[in-house]
Symmetry: C2
Subunit: 429 residues, 2 copies
């Protein structure tokens, strides 16, 4: 049966009239001529467009009123057939691949650069034949969301799912994830699953318009190699180190940020080298410490989303902070300036927050470097107001950790204690 | 007459009893022994502490109850006497030095690393004798604020002051400024003073605890060399390129960020080399374009602070955005994820903002790279909701520019037009 997922009204009629369905490789004549694959549509869609995935990996919307001609393309790209799906080899280590959505969860033949709109983890696995030579991979779709739509509830869902496998025979778990908020997810897992005995690796794909090939396959191969050879545990993000397809970087899940909107090497470990560098023939280890403070697996899979991130800037109105206080927030992470400062116009509102028992943490919008609130008088004032300096924790990580700490504490003293405990290398030297 | 600025009650009594005043070089025996200079105190101070500036440049507060002994240090550091103040030499170019406060506005003898708590621009100038060989510097104190207390009203004050000199015989203007919010100030000046014919350079000091010498002198010398030799105009920030004291970087005022809390080389041009590199014997020019789009000086020294910066993250509650709308904000700059995304949970609130005529701009929390909202369906949804993608404008710069654009426009269409006009290289290729 043909598939028309997400299409309705005019666009559905248009596709049916032309005997085209989702997944078909087509040629479209409009203002210019396009070739690509018809993609399913998601919510918030109108019925005036169809979505085409181009060979370069980008989706474009085409207005049906402007389409002169649409036809199935006969010169189809090689599509991996189910029969080609990877057979498992005895004796290879077992890995679990969970898919959550994002660019990576498009089926990609990295040799040709063609993509098909099939989103299952199993197919993701099958589309990269090299993986089967390294490990036997079981695949499972958890959900399918662009990463900007991944919410704290999804973090809980991922953590609960992984928790089910705490005593499995998998040697590691790969999570295919959209790149935008990957480092928020990796942070949550680092705290919620502290002590988990096998490595958990988040992998994504940064498609760049100037490159026909996808980086998804290479990142997946890197993750699989890492899991089977590195003999470590922890939560990591594995992505290209830079534009070079031969060097894959493995970042500590609590020390990494997406620092570029589109480059392949967008992810960077802040203030340090990546924990591991994976190349064709070797894995170079840079990390010296154990990932987790604890060796015991002690899942704490709870959180409280009533935490606000306040990026201070000249002209920031204290009234905005007052609103946050009134709305019943339990934690506020400041992205202060420099060594961890906010203007003195904020002091009265900060006092109110403290008096209401709200946890107040200080990070720096510099991103790199440590907050030090004893250097200038203004910093000392803020310490007196009860703001807790969070060392060199990245602001986004501090936000996630506060959500987690409040969800797993009985009172603000416990929250403060957890926030300054270095659980998963979120604070570095 | 001895000076006790900011001291009162017990701490004032303590100083007087020991015949010590602000500016004295002292030796204090407490838990350990400290040597340094007694600093003036600022508001929000208690009367239980005195403040000592250590040789490494840091201020520490010492509780008087814990001080065993305090005495003037006889082995005083070389202090520059008024008689040594620099005489002007005929024929040298004229520069105006405006002081606004910050670490740099401590008098510093960079050869010995000693610091005295004298804050005037004239003394700042006098403390770096090399300057007099390059230029005749007139100095003026505008105000004295740590940079986290510098507000949009201070930007206006600086711009108005500079505007007075639009037809002077100065070849350039140096602004001594705290480093924390220097790039916000440089952005405002870039828009408000577009077309200003001589270079305006912000200079600060990043004191690092492991170095006895100050970087202030070197940055000031770099700025003076730049102004007298570069034959250009524009608004720049001049600071150390890295830890190397021989290389000074000159950054475009709209493309620069403080990216490290404490390093000397904290300031970085985002996504590019610094515009100029200043070394002992040469100035290397990397910038290819003119700084300003316009050659005509056309000051627009107004702003409206009713602009909010919303950094989106998983769990960001749309109710927070609703509060901002209710509070009468006229502009909202989103720091979206990746290519410029916010979750679909935000869409309804964004619609409300649009319907109220609020200017909505999109930047990326990746900091580096361009937003591109046509790549994914979610981005296209946001475009439909009226969010304006701000190319690769740095979020902080977009915030300042929106304040400025709203202050200088009659309606939202004018605001949109100004926001996408590349006025001072805030958008780069």
């Amino acid at each position: 049966m043909s598939e028309y997922r997400g299409y309705e009204g005019n666009s559905l009629k248009f596709l049916k009239a032309n005997r085209i369905a989702v997944g078909d490789y087509v040629r479209i004549v409009a203002d210019i001529t396009y070739s690509g694959i018809i993609m399913p549509r998601y919510e918030h869609s109108d019925d005036k467009h169809i979505v085409l995935k181009l060979k370069n990996g980008y989706n474009i919307g085409l207005e049906i009123a402007e389409i002169e001609k649409i036809e199935k393309n006969l010169v189809t790209e090689k599509i991996i057939e189910k029969s080609e799906w990877i057979k498992k080899s005895e004796g290879l280590p077992k890995i679990l691949l969970l898919s959550t959505g994002g660019t990576i969860a498009s089926k990609v033949d990295y040799r040709t650069g063609s993509v098909t709109p099939v989103l299952s983890a199993q197919e993701l696995n099958a589309s990269v034949p090299e993986l089967a030579k390294i490990a036997n991979i079981d695949a499972e779709v958890l959900f399918s969301e662009y990463s900007e739509n991944i919410m704290p509830k999804h973090w809980l869902q991922i953590a609960e799912k992984i928790n089910e496998y705490s005593k499995s025979d998998y040697v590691g778990i790969i999570i295919a994830h959209g790149t935008d908020t990957m480092h928020y997810t990796s942070s949550f897992l680092s705290f919620a699953l502290a002590g988990f005995s096998i490595p958990i690796v988040l992998v994504g794909s940064q498609r760049s318009s100037d490159r026909a090939s996808s980086d998804a396959a290479l990142n997946l191969i890197g993750a699989t190699k890492f899991i089977t050879s590195s003999n470590t545990n922890g939560i990591y993000i594995i992505m290209h180190q830079d534009e070079n397809d031969k060097v894959i970087a493995c970042h500590i899940g609590t020390r990494v940020r997406k620092n570029h909107t589109s480059k392949r090497g967008a992810f960077k470990t802040i203030g340090d080298e990546p924990a591991f560098i994976i190349t064709e023939n070797q894995i170079q280890k840079n990390i010296k410490e154990d990932f987790f403070k604890t060796n015991e697996f002690h899942p704490r899979i709870k959180l409280d989303t009533k935490v606000a991130l306040v990026k201070y800037h000249p002209g920031y109105e204290p009234e905005l902070l007052e609103k946050i206080i009134e709305m019943g927030y339990k934690g506020i992470i400041f992205e202060g300036t420099g060594l961890g400062h906010i203007g003195k116009t904020m002091y009265e509102s900060v006092k109110k927050a403290r008096n209401k028992g709200i946890f107040l943490g200080m990070t720096s919008q510099c991103i790199d470097g440590r907050v030090r609130m004893t250097v200038y008088e203004s910093g000392r004032d803020l310490l007196n107001l009860g703001i807790v300096p969070l060392e060199n924790m990245i602001p986004e990580v501090a936000l996630v950790k506060t959500m987690w700490a409040i969800g797993n504490s009985q009172n603000i003293e416990e929250v403060k204690k957890l926030m300054l405990e270095n659980i998963a290398l979120e604070i570095s030297d």
